[in-house]
């Protein structure tokens, strides 16, 4: 009972923390609006350091709480330096004989003064070096990978001593079995599902964990980066393509049971369809999580715009409700991604019975 209460208190604290981080800001109403907008925009972007929160002191100095992460650049040789040198875009980093500066969260090569040139669309025209930095998102991916590795390898070890699940495995085993029995087997079939289990399980737990972490006030937002979802969708596409059987290709390029002329028309459409499938996977995950984060943060931001007991508490209730909904969405998107991946794998290995008319 006591531990339950503690968990609830911690959960409440987690919900409240983001409010605290904005609460420190001061200004007039329009200032607050633009500040909230900038804050949300900032939240959606990847950063070079791991920031917990930032505030402005009465003297107008920006204070950042967090820790720096390594910046790794390929710019006429490998350049590695700490992101603390970038000073959150407030000054130019001097590394070796090159100068780098952050502009709107992106890193550009500049001259010694840190001049950034813009074109007519207000896009920076400076050179962008090849950037392999351990950014906040990369750092989070590493931590999540490590977490999953530790939790599941420990869980696997327990099975060596006893066939029955114990500890954390009691919660995780039903989920693993759910992925196997309700996602993999019905969609792929009993014959082939084993080859795909590792990918499906990893994708499911990876997306779920990272989505859940995105709801904590740590400000993590990995799955609302198009690069991350693109990578996951690309892997699904590659696995589908490279494990596909003859039947799969035949149904794309030369469909049985369809008039010859129609086959010529349908082939490019079907081929395009194979690309649209992973594309929609990528967009779905990205858009759902991004939209969730924007709406949730906007609702939290509304509290500081209303500045009245009624309005603020109403937006708090809304934000709280949406937060719970986002918990569902976090699991649902992981489920949908895994489910559709399994569906595509299933279509790749499906063996059709050509005696029937299609």
């Amino acid at each position: 009972m006591r531990s339950k209460l503690t968990v609830r208190l911690i959960a409440l604290l987690f919900f409240l923390l983001p409010f605290l981080s904005i609460a420190g800001e001061k200004g007039t109403e329009t200032d607050i609006k633009s500040e909230i907008k900038a804050y949300i925009q900032h939240h959606l972007e990847d950063t070079y350091d791991f920031g917990f929160y930032s505030y402005t002191t009465d003297e107008g100095v920006h204070k950042y709480k967090g820790f720096p992460l390594p910046v790794i650049l390929w710019d006429n040789g490998l350049q590695v330096f700490s992101s603390s040198k970038l000073h959150h875009g407030e000054s130019v980093a001097h590394v070796g004989d090159a100068y780098y500066k952050l502009d709107h969260g992106k890193l550009y090569k500049t001259d010694a003064e840190g001049t950034i040139n813009y074109d007519e669309y207000h896009h920076a025209t400076n050179v962008k070096p090849l950037d392999f930095s351990i950014t906040k998102n990369v750092f989070t991916i590493m931590m999540v990978s490590l977490l999953l590795l530790i939790v599941f390898s420990r869980m696997a070890k327990k099975y060596k001593t006893s066939a029955l699940p114990s500890g954390v495995a009691r919660i995780l085993e039903p989920i693993v079995l759910y992925v196997r029995d309700d996602i993999a087997i019905p969609n792929i079939g009993k014959k082939h599902y084993k080859r795909y289990m590792s990918y499906l399980l990893t994708v499911f737990f990876f997306i779920w964990t990272i989505n859940l972490l995105g709801l904590t006030p740590l400000g993590i937002n990995v799955t609302n980066n198009i690069a991350v979802t693109f990578c996951l969708a690309l892997l699904t596409y590659l696995i589908t393509t490279f494990t596909a059987k003859k039947d799969y290709w035949m149904h794309i390029f030369w469909m049985p049971g369809v008039p010859k002329l129609m086959r010529l028309v349908l082939a490019p459409i079907e081929l395009l369809g194979t690309l649209i499938k992973p594309f929609s996977l990528m967009i779905r995950l990205y858009a759902n999580i991004t939209a969730g984060h924007i709406v949730l943060m906007s609702l939290i931001g509304l509290m500081f715009i209303f500045k009245s007991w009624l309005g603020s508490s109403l937006s708090f209730v809304l934000a709280f409700g949406l937060g719970i909904l986002e918990l569902l969405v976090a699991a649902l998107q992981a489920y949908i991604f895994t489910m559709l991946s399994a569906l595509y794998f299933g279509s790749a290995v499906e063996e059709h019975d050509h005696d029937h008319a299609h």
Binding site: D182, S280, R284, N288, M339
Partner: protein, 63 residues
Amino acid sequence: MEIPSIVGAGLIVIGAGLGIGRIGGSAMEAIARQPEASGKIQTAMLIAAALIEGIGFAALFAG
């Protein structure tokens, strides 16, 4: 007169919303008719809704 892309985005959202609504409604009816098959119906509903949602998002971002 040029129609701004936000109007197109709105139309897409209306379409996708109607589609997902229909799927949800039909799934509810199906579950009411066959409560024992609710698990399978839910799965099929989620997949269909996700597909429409995906197309909706894709069109939204393309617009």
